[in-house]
Symmetry: D2
Subunit: 359 residues, 4 copies
């Protein structure tokens, strides 16, 4: 089968770029009794895929280099959907069968470590990462695979993984009925977070984003306000929107250092802000303990992907508009153009149609 591989990652210090290649080994992979073979329909490109190619992945770098040394190359792609092609015996007993329309989590938690057994599989110390879905087929453990509702298209279902990030962020930011919410960054996850915040009962949602096209997209998808975070008077406009109280909940989805600082200042007393992007590893955000914490009782949450929320997220997914976020579609052969477009930062989501015969 054909699959997209990275045999060499870039080096940010030497400013060299990594390499990518499409191979076809003509083999459909075999699978174990608890596994299923998924024929991949769609796979979206994640910001982290670009970070990986550029080698710009901070303290994860040694681990990746080691993997490439062992395997020769590492696969690409962890935002995908598809159709079950075949199932192992044990997977069949668990209710999976050929023809099931599915989306998948990209890793298999060990279920035996401290983190797995306290409900936080996102920190699993022995996880088996299966991120190689820019391919025609992928083998998944049954615990990774989720059937999708009829009303969700395979194309939209490929957005499930980033959607769970947006979902987790909205819940960690404690968005609830009547909240005044801000989202920083109008990329794919930011646009989904803004919609989800509204969907979770926000009185108002404000998108902060320097690119006009992305602000317009946010407004068209239901945001109440969209502010140019570089050229407009952010503090004054925020005060007007929130009756001078600041935002109850803020989701920082831009990954930009300047936005990270700006966002914290706009948070209400006793408000909640969530940071979940792969920030510049060198950047240290200054927090004034006296004013931000002692006086204003702000709550600052980190977030590392998502864990046991997938079934609810999939239930909630048809509530928001996913289709307008998928702005470019490519075949696997077009991978160079796809990554070029992804890295332009102009598109909310760029996606591969891995098996164009599946809709």
């Amino acid at each position: 089968m054909r699959r997209l591989l990275i045999p060499e990652i870039g080096d940010p210090e030497k400013k060299t770029m990594g390499k990518m290649t499409l191979v076809d080994d003509g083999v459909i992979p075999s699978f174990g009794p608890g596994e299923v073979l998924v024929k991949v329909a769609y796979n979206g490109i994640c910001g982290s895929d670009g970070h990986l190619l550029r080698g710009n992945i901070g303290n994860l770098r040694p681990m990746v280099l080691q993997l490439i040394e062992i395997l020769g190359a590492i696969g690409v792609g962890h935002e995908f959907s598809g159709i079950i092609e075949d199932v192992g015996e044990k997977a069949a007993a668990l209710g999976f069968q050929k023809g099931d329309r599915v989306t998948c989590n990209y890793y298999v938690p060990c279920h035996s470590c401290y983190w797995c057994r306290t409900g936080r599989e996102n920190f699993c110390t022995h996880q088996d990462n299966r991120s190689a879905a820019c391919a025609e087929y992928i083998v998944c453990d049954s615990s990774q695979v989720f059937k999708i509702p009829d009303k969700l298209s395979l194309k939209c279902a490929a957005m499930t993984e980033p959607f769970t990030i947006a979902f987790n962020a909205v819940e960690m930011a404690k968005v609830r009925l009547g909240s005044r919410v801000a989202v920083f960054g109008g990329g794919g996850i930011g646009q989904m977070a803004a919609q989800l915040a509204k969907c979770a009962g926000a009185a108002s949602v404000t998108m902060f984003e320097p690119i006009e096209k992305k602000r317009e997209l946010a407004l068209s998808l239901g945001a109440d306000y969209a502010i140019d975070s570089i050229h407009e008077d952010v503090a004054a406009l925020s005060a007007e929107i929130t009756d001078g109280l600041g935002f109850d909940s803020i989701i920082e989805a831009s990954g930009a250092s300047a936005a990270a600082v700006q966002a914290l200042d706009l948070l209400s007393q006793d408000g909640n802000i969530v940071y979940f992007s792969m920030y510049n590893t060198e950047f240290n955000m200054p927090i004034n303990l006296f004013s931000q914490l002692y006086q204003q009782q702000k709550h600052i949450h980190g977030m590392q992907t998502s864990a046991a929320i997938w079934p609810r997220a999939i239930q909630a997914m048809p509530r928001i508009q996913i289709e307008p976020l998928i702005q470019k579609m490519y075949t696997l052969e077009e991978y160079e153009q796809a990554f070029k477009d992804h890295m332009s930062g102009e598109f909310a989501k760029v996606m591969f149609h891995c098996n164009p015969d599946i809709e």
Copy 2:
């Protein structure tokens, strides 16, 4: 000023009806330094107003009889909005002023009892109940008074008190992103709860209601399903809607004993159900401890009005459609017809326009 009074409540045992009268004493009431004088715009009739008139108020009856003996009559009306006509000095210092468009909570908590000081003012042991807003004016303590946003009409704002009940119920039922929700009873609060559940992120909302007109209203306001709880196969339809899992959250807003029992059966394992109506005081609902609690881990919540959620509720109020629920409007003089229509059970909400010169 004119105001609607009940000098005598009914007796359910003797099957006698209470009396109601509209008096005009020509006096505009005086107020203290921490109080404001509100010119009442609108006041809705609550189910409890009808219970009061009929005397059908269970163990609250002795208290009401005592109040009537002391005061000669008790006032009617606790769902209201209006415009501030005048303010006491201390209320002014707190930011209230003539012309403010407001809605009010109907009681003043003591702020000194155990319940008030643990954030549960709805159980205040020394509350001063000011339920007499079927009148041209009412005096309120500043702690009762809430300014309303421009985009909320005074007419809709008169629904704030019942809206806070729906709001509290939706939160107590733990409705969240992706929840499958059921609401029993398509009266005013039920219709608001159904909309709020959707607004809080429910994957689907199902209205159970025997009256067709109310089911249609629910669907027109955004419910996904509406089921005739008497004539349809409730269990089968619920299983279909919830993939056989039962509802994650149920809000019992009908007050009917049969519905109360039916609702619990449709609740999912580990689901949450809320009961907040003035049920028949004689009715004891049977709960099978082995199946409902030990095996299915259901969570059954009582609810007594609402407490510290008013500011958030008012923020959230413009998110739902209130106007279609206000189906009849009367002047104070038309009180007999108004109560007759209210008691017919046909209308989601019947309301007085207490000062027709205010819109």
Copy 3:
């Protein structure tokens, strides 16, 4: 190896008793790559073991009969500790090794069903139940096995499974700093729940229990009050203890219908009560919706065993006194006497020392 089996369960209708037998097949069981072989140190008898033997297990009965038909007999024992004797390759990679002192959860969740993937493995629809630890050896999946801290003896560690029930109940009852707590039933789980409630910050803990010896045990283990729930004036004494407010949190651990009713009456407004015992399947508890739910806003929680709390529970376990609850110890050969003593109801916990060479 020797192991205790039930080839036939009782029939409550015909009032016949089940049978139990100790077999020795001379075989040490084999295990898979993700499994470990545990040499069992201790195994406690659970109330449900007695229910099983008597056949008194309500709607679970058909399932058990089917299992016996398939397997010839079912094993006994799911409250155990031991030492790892051997490990599969995959289990070794996850950090388990020969000599580890361990306790085990009795079932393997599928990790692929809706319930597992929403963090509620206690409702797993495909769980593999491995309750046969009244034996010299048992094979466990690595996801079931928990290493125990040095300061926890193997004897006490055999109480982990019932301890997690008490732990889950205390948290579900929302016991926190300053709570006034009541526990009904001074058996093993009740005594642990009473201690844990104190350990979780309860201002006071009151044990309701008709048997004097069990009340004395509760007091000696730190309960503040112990009340004879049959012969004392329960309402008056509770009012005295709680300043007339009722208990904030109640854990019903007796399984008795009368206690279940009594407990609910003693709950405070807005209080939380938990029911988790295998109650008489015929019993329906009456709840007055008007007073208990509408007026008093009580929260009634069912509970089905426990899920992702084991690591925390094991951490907390050395905080309470377990040793005094283990009141009788037997070899596997003495099983008849052991079950007789268990069923007398006189002892908090009766236990087997399955391999007397391990301490």
Copy 4:
């Protein structure tokens, strides 16, 4: 009556010290209908009293200077207990009476602002601050006054206000059964927080404190470990205590910048840390967004005093040892020595016995 006043605060820039004086105007203050007159038994000196005297109070300074200009001087003391000497009519109706043993919150919230009405009175925008209890009498609004249980001495009850801070911090840090907890700073609040964390179910409590005497005190009051945060290998010892996982909950009670940074590094993935001290207003703590937030999902909480937890806190207070923290006792006349000893930093709590005839 005699009372301690500050007619002039210090100036940190000019390095001048403020002034303090004891006056006796021979007048017992009058009170309103909703108020009570409290004869003060004990009043503890708070760190913020020292900050006030030195003028070292950051952006609160202009407000204090204005108050002194208006009033001539400001009172001292907000950690107190006493006996009700007389009550207004309305306070009497609420259940207060002469002779009641009480402790008091130092401010009267307005109950009409956004913050009060969302249950966060600690942010009240119109609060009436009554901090002048280093005096023989003080007038309190009934909403400030809390009766204390018989088993709590007036001396210990004077610690209620700082106790509520410790209480709030322990809850905000999400300490629960089985948590591994660290407390930084062995002053009065730190020592209470350490005890409360244990009392709330912590598996272990570790005190980080450079002063040996305070470490010893912590150990004698139940802490499991005490580490010299300056001279010992903090990272290695913490790893040993927490099985390499880091602390689940950390309460930073030292107010020192270095400790604030050190504490965050020792927090577990997904752990909670609380900052509530009056830190140096110039200090900005650097947080690495990539590692601390994105990778490790830490939760950083500010905290501004406490709100609706007083009744529960008073219930919980007898669970910990308060007496050993009150290490020096003075009459009002001895105020100079008292403040000197307070500022030495050697004592957990220094206290005035304002009316030595009351025990």
